[in-house]
């Protein structure tokens, strides 16, 4: 077995950059989509909301491989949409970095959506009413009153989304595959080197994701504590 120093010097760092890039893009997409969906579902109410909520939460509770299968059904190269995208725009979703982003976004999005929705529901409705009677436009109320008040929930949603997107494996391996330097993320790298019996390299990458995930969650907790809401202990 190689020593840790050998592993690091010979290492191909591409999985880290691919994972980080995927995580960041998927988080940005989920951020806006999640907030948008949360607002829509809040407005809807009733049975329509229960159904919409179910669909939006599904990727979180579904086995990632099942989600991957469904994505292949839609974006596969022999499927209408996949065919249309590649023939009209030359866009290839399957076996590409786009596939990484798609898979990570779909899987991580519900975390953003649910956190955003929970945070928005906690908001004192009178704040919105007050904004209206004070002549603020709905957009201004949303960005200046609702979002800052929902801040802690939004922040935790964003970070959980990032952490989840960073480590996505199941759907990514099915949709994007594991092409080194292109779609080979850290989690796919770990699975691959373990199959080869290279526990040294696997251990190294596990340490990297461990640090990243841990840092993200600690960062989130510190950010939340600053908001002054979680100071009470019991």
């Amino acid at each position: 077995m190689d020593t840790m120093a050998d592993i690091v010097t010979k290492l191909d760092w591409s999985p880290l950059w691919i994972s980080l890039k995927t995580g960041v893009v998927a988080t940005i997409l989920s951020f806006f989509l999640g907030i948008f969906a949360a607002r829509k579902s809040q407005k809807l109410g009733g049975a329509g909301r229960a159904v919409l909520d179910g669909i939006l939460t599904l990727p979180m509770v579904l086995p990632p491989t099942a989600a991957g299968f469904l994505l292949l059904l839609v974006f596969g190269m022999r499927r209408p949409l996949g065919l249309f995208l590649s023939e009209s725009f030359g866009v290839k979703v399957v076996q590409s970095w786009l596939g990484c982003i798609l898979a990570a976004t779909v899987i991580a999005f519900p975390l953003m959506y649910r956190n955003a929705r929970g945070a928005m529901e906690q908001i004192d409705i009178n704040l919105v009413y007050a904004g209206r009677t004070l002549g603020m436009s709905e957009t201004k109320i949303f960005w200046k009153v609702v979002m800052p008040s929902a801040g802690p929930g939004i922040v935790s949603g964003t970070i959980l989304t990032f952490a989840r997107a960073l480590g996505e494996y199941g759907a990514t391996s099915m949709v994007a595959g594991n092409i080194p330097g292109k779609t080979g993320t850290i989690s796919q790298k770990i699975a691959m080197v373990i199959q080869d019996g290279d526990y040294g390299t696997a251990g190294f990458w596990v340490m990297i994701v461990l640090l990243l995930a841990f840092a993200a969650v600690v960062f989130m907790n510190l950010g939340m504590a600053k908001g002054g809401r979680s100071k009470r202990r019991w």
Binding site: N126, A130, G131, T133, S149
Partner: protein
Amino acid sequence: MGIDIKIQKRLGAFQLMVQFHGASNRIGILGASGCGKSMTLKCIAGIEKPQEGWIRLGEQVLFDSQRKQDVKPQKRNIGYLFQNYALFPTMTVAENIGVGIKGSREEKRKRVGEMIETFRLSGLEHHFPRELSGGQQQRTALARIMAYEPGAILLDEPFSAMDVFLKDQLQQELAEMLKDYAGTVILVSHSRDEIYRFSQELLVMDQGKDVIFGETKEIFQRPRYREAARLTGCKNFSRIRRVNRHLLEALDWGIMLQTRQEVPKEAGWIGYRAHDFVPVWGERQENCLKVCLESVAKLPFECNYYLRPEWGEVSQERICWFLQRERQQEIEEKGLPDYLAFREEKMMFLM
């Protein structure tokens, strides 16, 4: 300026049906919790939408279901003071006050400065709402409303969650701050003291409906309806049977009452305020009720007696008699009175 309202709104089993035309600038709405008074206020502000009717404020039509008019709350120019003040928690005092002001940055800054001055908030400009006392929060909320010069101000139970000492102080403060305000102010409350102190005209509401509207003092003197009497603080009620123009039987108290004024034909009840009884010792006099004591509650400044009329069978109706502390001495010397006398001018005939 005047306000003219007729609205209907159904919410499940609850139905709101309110109509009144106010001419004064200080209007009170009195009612028990859940009677629809806050809902009425929200309809005026445009936060809630009635299903039918109209709302006019001065010359301005805010809502009219037939003409399909429904001015957005943003365009109604009506200030709403929420019970919890609804200050934006992530904005400072100055940002809160500036939020509704239209115009250039410079104008905005100037106006915020004026408001900070007027509402004695100097030094607190950069504080967040959670760092303010109750009084400072109220002043900030009012400054925020006044900053954009509303045509009317709605006060939604602004004192209901306060301790007694603070309440009295803030009521006085609010009254002073609104003294020079020329627009219409509507105060919603379940406290008759607040309403009496504040309003020239009064709407009494019960279970979603308007009971009576009129001049506040007049309604407290002659509530005309049982619910209005109860909400203005009357404690004693009895069904009546009108024997003739000047004689009636109070059925629940088991006595006959004689009056020089004519008993209105439509009256089905008599109401009598707990403070208005006259104690009588010895000889029975006109319009007297023989009572025996059930319980006493001693309060700091008055004494509450809960009595039972003494007649044939045991009555269910309790009589409340509230006596000021200063007059307590008489009772201590002579013992409890044998009778309580009704003063004719204090009798309230109710529908």
